[in-house]
Symmetry: C2
């Protein structure tokens, strides 16, 4: 059922006509997994179930830079997701254990285009 | 000298106080390199030299999804970069040869925060 919402992580997310909102989360990791991979997957699945969720894209380069972009229909949806209790615990562990540096940017998408073969 | 502008691709970009603008470019590749890696590197270096460039982040996952986010001080800077002649040729080859699917989103960053150890 979640496949209806933003489909897979392996493709550019399919999103509605702008305007909509994006959270750009860029990070580098600390050493070791320490439960990170399981939590990251769980957070993607939980995000997909939130009101206003439109899609998510995620990639981590060999050099260690990770970029996750999630798309939302409103700033209120973004705020509610940030304050989700399970997500708050993940954020706390992220600060304490998993991330060396992270940068979160909240933006409004005004214009987009998609090209497919 | 370019290291002053957005520093390395291996870290979250250091950007000024919002508001500023982001171009979120998400893609999947066709098979084979076909000159892609050289052009991608050249485009990052060329972007760094453009007026209004603030930083860039790029990652490609093992599954093949690539995310590149470039940051700019104005929509005019984004437009000028899109219309740069060398970049136009790269865009043409991207559509013709390198990308299976791509999605470009132009957004305004209103709010951000960074956490570093």
């Amino acid at each position: 059922m979640h496949q209806d919402l933003g489909s897979s992580l392996d493709l550019p997310a399919t999103t509605p006509e702008p305007p909509y909102y994006a959270v750009i989360f860029t990070s580098t990791r600390t050493e070791g997994d320490n439960g990170y991979a399981d939590m990251a997957n769980a957070m993607v699945e939980l995000a997909r179930q939130q009101p206003g969720f439109l899609g998510v894209e995620s990639a981590r380069s060999e050099s260690g830079l990770g970029i996750t972009v999630s798309y939302w229909n409103s700033l209120e949806s973004i705020r509610a997701w940030k304050e989700n209790e399970v997500h708050l615990e993940a954020q706390r562990r992220g600060r304490a254990e998993w991330y060396q540096v992270y940068h979160t940017r909240v933006s409004k998408i005004d214009y987009d285009y998609r090209v497919e073969r």
